[in-house]
């Protein structure tokens, strides 16, 4: 079993995050290795990803089935490999964060981090990268706490993913994909929030 759990925080209100997350077409391209996806019903879709194992890449096709749809706080899903013996599950969880309850000092006006243009000082970025790398190795968990602006509504987005390779080679495949899980979770959640932050900066929700 390979798993990852990644939490990040944004100034964007939960309803706005949910509004974005509930439409997979808006964030599909943020999935690591994304190639295509096809909605087959309200709860079922088929995704094709390119899995990159360093020396080779391989096209993987998954069937994703929504098992819980509880807006604006949670969506859960299962996944099943169609061309590889894999199964798994995952969830997006969106929570409201009271102003000043998380991250930096009360009343901090520091902006939420946008991965494409991080504003932290270089040594801090280095430390953060080291910590996240360690977290990857020991448990596949990471959290990026961003202080919400004073008096602003804010959200905490958590993305969880677990994949269980099947077949005789499962332990080997597990070892191969394990280092990829947390970066995949980080990429998806961070890019979603980056897009929302861009929309906010432009004066409205990203649609």
């Amino acid at each position: 079993m390979a798993e990852a759990r990644y939490t990040t925080t944004t100034r964007v209100p939960p309803e706005q995050v949910w509004d974005f997350v509930q439409d997979m077409d808006r964030w599909a391209e943020f999935v690591m290795g994304y190639q295509t996806h096809e909605k087959r019903s309200e709860t079922e879709s088929v995704w094709t990803l390119k899995g990159d194992l360093g020396v080779m890449s391989r096209t993987l096709t998954f069937e994703v089935r929504i098992t819980e749809w509880n807006g604006p706080s949670r969506v859960r899903f299962t996944l099943r490999g169609l061309n590889e013996p894999m199964s798994g599950e995952g969830a997006f969880t969106i929570e409201a964060v009271p102003p000043g309850s998380e991250g930096g000092p009360e009343g901090s006006a520091a902006p939420a981090p946008v991965p494409a243009a991080p504003r932290k000082a270089a040594p801090l970025r280095w430390l953060e990268a080291l910590a996240r790398r360690l977290l990857r190795w020991i448990g596949g968990r990471s959290e990026r706490a961003a202080p919400p602006a004073a008096g602003a509504a804010a959200s905490r987005l958590t993305f969880e993913l677990r994949i269980d390779p099947g077949g005789p080679m499962a332990p080997m495949v597990n070892a191969m994909i394990k280092p990829l899980m947390l970066p995949a979770a980080e990429q998806l959640a961070d890019r979603i929030l980056a897009r929302l932050e861009e929309g906010r900066a432009e004066g409205g929700a990203s649609r």
Partner: protein, 557 residues
């Protein structure tokens, strides 16, 4: 590519100056670098790919050395005379006697040097016979192949991420002896994947990546030899007829490196240069299992200086047949896998007429037969070959990385309920396939193949045989549904043409004299030391040996 006169005149100012430049970072280039550095030379390694290791880091990692010191440690008897007889058999009269004698005289010192001075931990692969054991003169039942102990990729420091941690061609993290103890390739579903997974998690490397790990560590980490990746050499710099440097590209600009003692060309062959492959290998189609950086740069750069190109017959080298699984890529190019499925029970090959034409379990038998030319019809009747197997095969053995029970991609594998239907779908003569299966199955039920002797070679049995069968390579193809795959050539980088070299690995001019300051080793040098035949592990062995010879010669030894 930046344009410049070729060959290039010395620049007004060199970007770097060293004694020896090794172009290519496979076993040949790195061995030359180690040998030269240990003799006091300053060395720079230039690598075209974004990772060090070349084809050597992507392959199986076997090194074939008769009468090697690890055999002796295990008490396995062998002799230099037997080794010579075997190489003479392999050469089939096409070897250059001087080059072969030089190779055989230096292979053991080079291999032992890399253990004593460079820390490479060799292991003899017990019980893996020579290809032609037991009927070839001097052939041996097992121990001549060397592999390496597990290599810890974490010890490479900055080079860990810039070397190959695994190869897509073999499940990673297993030692050769374990692979065979676990049943070989036919029993790949029964390997110890818990152990392999633990090793992968700790970057414990084996096969080619492990082999190159030891060499890169010895060169780049232990000796501090500098290397540049993504730095293709574009031309040789010449002064007064001698090679005095290299013009390479690095980070978007020309890089002029002076080489006071010489340049070693160790860039492999030309697998990814379709034009050269078509001209030199005489096959109507061509694909490669190697990283996509083999463009024949050595032939171009040295050719500009008048270097002689020499050849051995392409008929009996190491050209496999295989397939591309849709969606699989390596370095942005389609990944081709050689097919070993044909060596398992319940599988065979046929041509378009639906006829068998070879011992499918022994690629040295099928390779020349694929080149059969029908002079009456101006065709190659055995191309393309088709892999045919049945549900008994599917229940037991993988196809590439697709395990039993896993759906096979319809773009690659054709499925049908009867042999006739399968033949029609594949474009094979249905009557021919039915007749072939009838005869094959009649004998296969008894574990026999009187037509081509499938499973008669100990090497084949060891590699792909299922030892639960009376004949580990033979089982009837009779249980529906039936499956078929159209196969294509898959080269492993061992080409028939290369630069002509002398006993010091110096490149020879078409007039027969050495070109001062220019060496070629590994698969960049013509295989005149081997001649007409091939045995797995000889490519790695000659890369190490000639690299070692070149590095020492450049240092004045």
């Amino acid at each position: 590519m930046a344009s410049a006169p070729a060959p290039t005149a010395p620049p007004t100012r060199w970007d770097q100056e060293v004694d020896l430049v090794c172009v290519g970072s496979g076993l040949g280039g790195i061995s030359a670098a180690i040998a030269a550095r240990d003799r006091g030379l300053s060395v720079l390694v230039l690598e075209k790919a974004p990772r060090l290791g070349g084809v050597s880091g992507f392959g199986g990692g076997e090194v074939f050395v008769p009468n090697n010191h690890k055999m002796r440690e295990l008490g396995i008897a062998d002799s230099d005379e037997a080794g010579r007889a075997y190489f003479q058999f392999l050469s089939a009269g096409f070897a250059d006697p001087t080059l072969q004698a030089t190779l055989l005289a230096h292979m053991k010192p080079a291999i032992e040097y890399m253990e004593k001075e460079a820390g490479v931990r060799w292991i003899a692969v017990e019980g893996l016979p020579d290809y032609y054991y037991a009927d070839a003169p001097g052939s041996h039942p097992g121990g001549r192949y060397l592999s390496v102990d597990l290599f810890d990729g974490r010890s490479l420091g900055e080079w860990q991420a810039r070397t190959y941690p695994m190869t897509p061609h073999v499940p990673p993290g297993a030692l050769h002896r374990e692979m065979y103890a676990w049943g070989g390739l036919a029993c790949v579903t029964q390997w110890d994947y818990e152990l392999i997974g633990q090793r992968l998690a700790n970057d414990q490397r084996s096969f080619g990546p492990g082999l190159m790990g030891w060499f890169v560590k010895a060169a780049m980490v232990d000796r501090g030899i500098p290397a540049l990746v993504s730095a293709p050499a574009r031309s040789l710099v010449v002064d007064g007829g001698a090679v005095v440097g290299v013009r390479a590209e690095h980070e978007g600009r020309d890089l002029y490196v002076r080489a006071r003692k010489g340049v070693v060309l160790a860039v492999g062959g030309y697998d990814w240069n379709r034009e050269l492959a078509r001209q030199y290998e005489a096959m109507p189609d061509w694909n490669s299992a190697c990283p996509p950086y083999l463009h024949g740069d050595h032939l171009v750069m040295a050719g500009e200086l008048g270097a002689a190109i020499a050849a051995v017959p392409p008929t009996d080298l190491a050209l496999f047949y295989g397939y591309h699984i849709p969606g699989e890529e390596s370095d942005g190019h389609p990944l081709y896998r050689s097919s070993w499925e044909c060596g398992c029970p319940h599988a065979l090959w046929v041509n378009r007429a639906g006829q068998r034409f070879c011992d499918e379990s022994f690629y040295k038998d099928y390779q020349p037969r694929l080149r059969t030319w029908d002079g009456q019809r101006q065709t190659m009747p055995n191309l393309p070959p088709f892999l045919i197997f049945d549900q008994n095969y599917r229940d037991r053995y993988p196809l590439g990385s697709f395990m039993p029970g896993q759906p096979l991609p319809s773009e690659l594998v054709v499925q049908a309920d009867t042999p006739r239907e399968l033949a029609e779908k594949l474009g094979i003569d249905p009557d021919g396939l039915e007749r072939t299966l009838e005869r094959f199955n009649e004998h296969a039920r008894r574990g026999e193949d009187p037509d081509f002797g499938k499973g008669s070679r100990p090497w084949s049995v060891r590699l792909t045989g299922d030892h639960s069968y009376p004949n580990p390579c033979v089982g009837p193809v009779e249980r529906p549904p039936f499956y078929g795959v159209r196969l294509v050539p898959v080269s492993v980088g061992i080409n028939s043409h290369g630069l002509r070299t002398d006993e010091h690995a110096r490149v020879l001019h078409v007039r027969g004299r050495p070109i001062p300051g220019l060496y070629a080793v590994g698969n960049s040098a013509a295989l005149l030391d081997l001649g007409g035949g091939y045995q797995s592990g000889t490519s790695n062995m000659r890369a190490i040996t000639w690299g070692w010879i070149a590095g020492r010669h450049a240092a004045g030894a």
